[in-house]
Point group: C2
Chain length 345, copies 2
DNA sequence: CGAATCACCGCATACGATTGCATAAACAAG
DNA sequence: CTTGTTTATGCAATCGTATGCGGTGATTCG
């Protein structure tokens, strides 16, 4: 009775194909999906159907399949900031793997906020997908339970933020790598006052890296000066401001460690603008090894992570679950970080 | 009869809410959408329904609405390379506008290939969305006709590549800006041998920029030396290789212009590695003004584009069409480029 | 030669939400 | 008491696809 004013005109449906081929719609469905082992289709009709499909340029409407409870052929990916180059190879890798499986990828930014993360979860509840890839900073186990219970999607996660029995995890040994990096800075390079550009404690990864930083200083027998701890929000400009703060100190540090490269690059910019030489007067070190770390001068010493590998791992783990090849307890995969010694230290 | 094995478990549907509130499912629909002006709902039942919604934590299944031909609450965006920082503010702006409208964004890479672009169109045909944003390099009018005819989606496009009556377009005056940039390089800076790092003629934007380049040289009365024309593929590494090629020339240019910043940065890397001073011995100039242009040393002289503004414009134009506020012929919006004079020239 | 088997295919229903139409209740007017 | 009108709600069809089950014609077997 109701004729929906086609905002989306689906000119050619399965019924059209059926009519053109002189068969029923269900036959067309069976020819195309083919997965119905018990059902046999005559070779002649199969050909007629395939010809009609080609002639009409038919494509299946995936909204229908999604509604029917089939695969949605879609992945959702949540990252913190699409402007951060660290995520690009990851997104890239996920998209590549997805396309191999003829999947599409929906992407959302959270801007590192909890509100953004919850919005993402609600979005996925409203439009269920087959798989979800997350880089969570705030979400708790309850949020994951809800996500999984309501959508039934396979879930893969980056980072040690969460440990959930049903989600696969890939993470770097960042705390250990950071510990070693600071130790190297102290012992090999002789720095005794090292400033930190960290993030607020709302980010569990910030807490972990800060602890590793403190532990390294402690182990080296150095004093912990609260004035040397500054905060940023992962962006280049926040690194710039944090470095200014450190430079303004009565007794500035001789080295600055930023918990990501963007902030390190911003810090270097600030330090050089102030007429302070890097690394002679002040060394700078970052984390991630984004490509831009080698574009700046001096080239940035940093701790490399391997986002492409991480993304590929998450995506393949996801598809193993989607295709039912694996459904055990969440796997954990560690990608080792590596110190990249360059010119800024 | 058929019980689809719920890959996606939608625990709570509208029917559940209806049952909990003791009304029919259609009443729930009317309470929630509310858009049905002719239909009145008793205040008491409205409350009962809303309470049931809250109690059950109901969210609408958007796959169903999409199938029914309603809005899909989804945008699709096609860009060439998610690794190119030029696109990030654009993606960002689109996502921000979309989220204001409670829309999600599906993103696809084409890697600058026609195959990638066609794949995207097919993907959108199979899963219609309300709006499409494209950065096309190869697609022709026929592809756009097909896209629009098959999906009925609103379309917005970046660049002058296509001019279609039904699509809104935003573009920079890149040819003019490039002409002026080269003229500036020649007249103000005195360069008489300028190398070009361009792209193949398959990219219409490459052709246009190359023409502008040639025109500027002609107008300056300079000879056109084919050896000074090299090709890249928009990536940093291709810029590196192209610059090596120019350096190897018997008579190398005194300035190099790359049609985007990534290639310019790659070129600068190559030039400096070869022990040639930038800009004293060889000047470098790019196009786009990505943030990284000010990270490198010397800072890159370039022609600025404003991708965030471009993205915002495309997105708002799209929503004007989606919401029926506009349905006239495709609008065109020019975003002026601007020369950013820095240290590399 | 009648019945059982088999290969092939169509009918009908369901997924969840929207919406035109029918309908029930309540009330007013004649 | 009948008829008309208003108000609030339910029924049922629909979007495009998947699938259990029943049906039909042909072949085979006892």
């Amino acid at each position: 009775m109701s004729k929906p004013e086609g905002l989306h005109k689906q000119a050619v449906t399965m019924r059209d194909v059926a009519q053109a081929a002189g068969v029923s719609q269900s036959t067309v469905s069976r020819v195309l999906s083919g997965t119905d082992g018990t059902m046999l289709i005559g070779e002649e009709t199969r050909q007629r159907v395939l010809e009609a499909v080609a002639a009409l340029g038919y494509f299946p409407n995936r909204h229908a399949g999604s509604l029917r409870g089939q695969k949605t052929m879609m992945l959702a990916m949540m990252i913190a900031d699409i402007g951060n180059p660290f995520y690009h190879p990851m997104v890239r890798a996920v998209q590549d793997v997805a396309h191999e499986h003829r999947y599409d990828v929906m992407i959302a930014n959270t801007d590192h906020t909890y509100a953004g993360e919850r919005l993402f979860v609600e979005s996925v509840i409203q439009r269920p997908v087959d798989g979800v890839i997350l880089v969570p900073y705030h979400m708790g186990k309850a949020d994951f339970d809800r996500l999984i219970a309501r959508t039934g999607a396979a879930v893969a996660v980056l980072g040690q933020h969460i440990d959930h029995p049903q989600v696969d995890t890939v993470y770097g040994n960042d705390d250990q790598a950071l510990f070693e990096a600071i130790s190297w800075l102290v012992h090999e390079r002789g720095h005794r006052r090292v400033g930190l550009i960290g993030v607020t404690n709302e980010h569990s990864v910030g807490v972990r890296r800060r602890s590793a930083f403190v532990a390294a200083l402690r182990q080296a027998g150095l004093a912990i000066d609260p004035a040397l701890f500054t905060l940023g929000d992962w962006t280049e400009s926040s690194g710039y401001r944090a470095a200014q703060q450190l430079l303004a100190l009565p007794e500035p540090p001789t080295a600055v460690f930023a918990v990501n490269d963007l902030m390190a690059i911003g810090a270097m910019e600030a330090i050089q603008s102030a007429g302070v030489q890097v690394p002679q007067q002040m060394a700078v070190m970052g984390f991630d090894d984004i490509p831009q770390a080698t574009w700046v001068r001096p080239r940035l010493t940093t701790v490399a992570q391997y986002p492409a590998e991480m993304g590929r791992w998450m995506a393949t783990a996801l598809f193993e679950r989607i295709q039912g090849e694996f459904d055990g307890v969440g796997r954990r995969f560690e990608v080792k970080c590596r110190l990249c010694q360059r010119e800024s230290t």
